[in-house]
């Protein structure tokens, strides 16, 4: 009898849990869905509150305008350049450093680690950073937007933790075969680190794509503007749209301008969502490689992906770096205060 009572109490509890997830799902999903339907609906109907769950009076006007706007394409081009070149540079700087810091024979590694970690908690602030960049004559150049944040300390810690878990025997046998550190890194470590590299790519690329701060501070030249700055002009400062024939002077009503805005929001967000499956790649990679081949049970890849899956893991504890890592992504305002 007693058992049965507990059971019913638990079912009510579980029912509430499901109810909460349904509510969370609606709260998160509805605004996203609304932007999508508003971008293809008649703006007048949207503005008087007639569009709720399904698009009404479908028209593609907003998208047509976006495709004809030179500023957006220019912004796209610049952003893609910054994402591609910036991310490549990030990996090229982060991975070798992570490898060097993971070598126990490297005596100064704790000192060097402190050298990096200290910058997480203390920095010169915005103005001295600006003055430094200015002294290097990098203001208003594309270069600064690529090399800013060449290495992020949190990502370095994650990469180091991962590389540290590559069994030392591999290196020892490679040395016997006459392999140098450099070659070992390129031919053994990098292929084995695909999982963590894809995580780094995911985060660095999302950072570069969404970076607004650095462009605002270090660039005032329109021809270097990344997409986010262009978006700000169109979406928040309400600048005239499309070759001067937009806005109030251009003659089309505010309502049409609104439809263009919805379209802009979607066009600018979809590409970065394409990186979403990287989580999946990373999940697979860490399973195949870490678990089967070298058994990197505590690699960060393994843990996050198990987390993402919500699956049950054999791993007993979450590496500290993973904690920092996820924390920093979302809470600390990564974009705003790299060294500030």
């Amino acid at each position: 009898m007693k058992n049965k009572k507990i059971l019913t109490g638990d079912s009510v509890f579980v029912f509430f849990m499901y109810l909460i997830t349904v509510l969370v799902f609606i709260i998160i999903a509805y605004p996203l869905w609304f932007i999508i339907i508003a971008s293809v609906s008649n703006s007048n109907l949207v503005n008087i509150g007639k569009v709720h769950f399904w698009p009404k009076d479908i028209r593609w006007y907003g998208y047509e305008q976006v495709f004809h706007d030179a500023r957006i394409w220019k912004g796209y081009f610049n952003t893609i350049l910054y994402v591609a070149a910036g991310t490549a540079l990030n990996i090229a700087v982060t991975m070798p450093a992570a490898y060097a810091l993971s070598q126990h024979e490297f005596k100064a590694r704790n000192i060097v680690m402190f050298y990096f970690v200290f910058t997480m908690f203390f920095g010169g602030g915005l103005i001295p950073l600006y003055m430094t960049v200015n002294a290097l004559h990098l203001i208003n150049t594309k270069t600064i937007l690529i090399i800013m944040v060449a290495v992020n300390t949190y990502n370095l810690i994650i990469a180091r933790t991962f590389v540290e878990n590559i069994p030392n025997e591999l290196y020892e046998s490679a040395v016997i075969d006459g392999c140098s550190h450099f070659r070992f890194f390129l031919q053994i470590v990098m292929p084995l680190s695909k999982a963590v590299v894809s995580v780094l790519i995911l985060y660095y690329a999302v950072f570069h794509w969404n970076d607004f701060f650095n462009a605002l501070i270090f660039n005032s030249d329109n021809k270097n503007d990344p997409l986010q700055i262009v978006l700000r002009r169109i979406l928040i400062l309400n600048e005239a749209f499309a070759n001067g024939n937009g806005g109030v002077q251009g003659g089309y009503a505010q309502s049409s301008a609104d439809q263009v805005k919805y379209a802009v929001m979607i066009i600018s967000t979809v590409p970065i969502l394409c990186f979403y499956p990287f989580i999946e790649v990373f999940r697979k990679g860490s399973h195949d490689r870490s678990h089967k081949r070298v058994k990197m049970v505590h690699s960060c890849g393994g843990s996050i992906n198990r987390a993402a899956e919500g699956g049950y893991s054999q791993s007993k504890n979450v590496p500290y770096s993973v904690i920092i890592f996820c924390y920093e992504r979302c809470f600390y305002g990564f974009q705003s205060d790299i060294c500030a």
């Binding site: 849990m17 969370v24 805005k261 049950y312 993973v322 904690i323 979302c330 974009q335």
Partner: protein, 287 residues
Amino acid sequence: MLAPGIIYIFIFCYVPMYGIQLAFRDYSFSTGITGGKWAGLKYFKQYFDSPMFMTTLVNTFKIASLSIIIGFPAPIILAMVLNQIKNRYWKKIVQTTVYIPYFISVVVLVSMLNVLLANGSGVIGNFLKAVHLVPRNMNLLGDPKAFVPVYIWSGVWQSIGWNSIIYLAALSSVDLELYDAAKVDGANKFQTIIHIELPAILPTIMILFILSMGGILNVGFDKIYLMQNSLNRGVSQVISTYVYTVGIRSAQFSFGSAVGLFNTVVNFVFLIFTNRQAKKYSGCGLM
């Protein structure tokens, strides 16, 4: 192999640290960062004496502490709720959805707020007014009273899913035998959460908490800057936006550096303090 990283950090983090002396000097274009006349604490005094000191400090603390009070527990609760969901498909759908907002840029997020909360035509704004969560005549985008709640809840909306990942990871590593033991002892689901799951993820919670306290004055510049308008400036001017406004926009480099340094030092002190307290009471800390 380390050289590129070390050089980069040196130029973009340590050289600016050396440049902190700008806060103690009169900046002049001809002599650069280190050549100006020594001014002592003049610029700090100027900041402390200005009316903006209290405004920016209070605004920053208010936004930061409310972000922590509301934004910190939210993902923990979501993770615990998700952990109870046994239907794999539904769980996957919810997880996939709640991660999406994280990928949205600040600019797009703020413009979403601008359309969804707009007076009259904003769908979400109208809904909140209809269910009396918000007074009917409130302008959610301009009213100074609305700025902080809009900032914080939109932040929760954006990051709750992503932040919950780490707690889900910690929850998935709870020893399954503990659940069996609890069942044998007759614990119900709620008791299991309180007595088994919560203690299991406590170390994770503590470390994240210490770190968030260390960043207490680092409220996101981008979002506040983009949400600022002439109506809400009284409550939305925080230290970081103030540094940008006076330091870069009006080129008062020394004054801006002093304000920035003040911000850094307060953060540093908070980090050390919280870390010490956490170590004392829970035995886990950063350093």
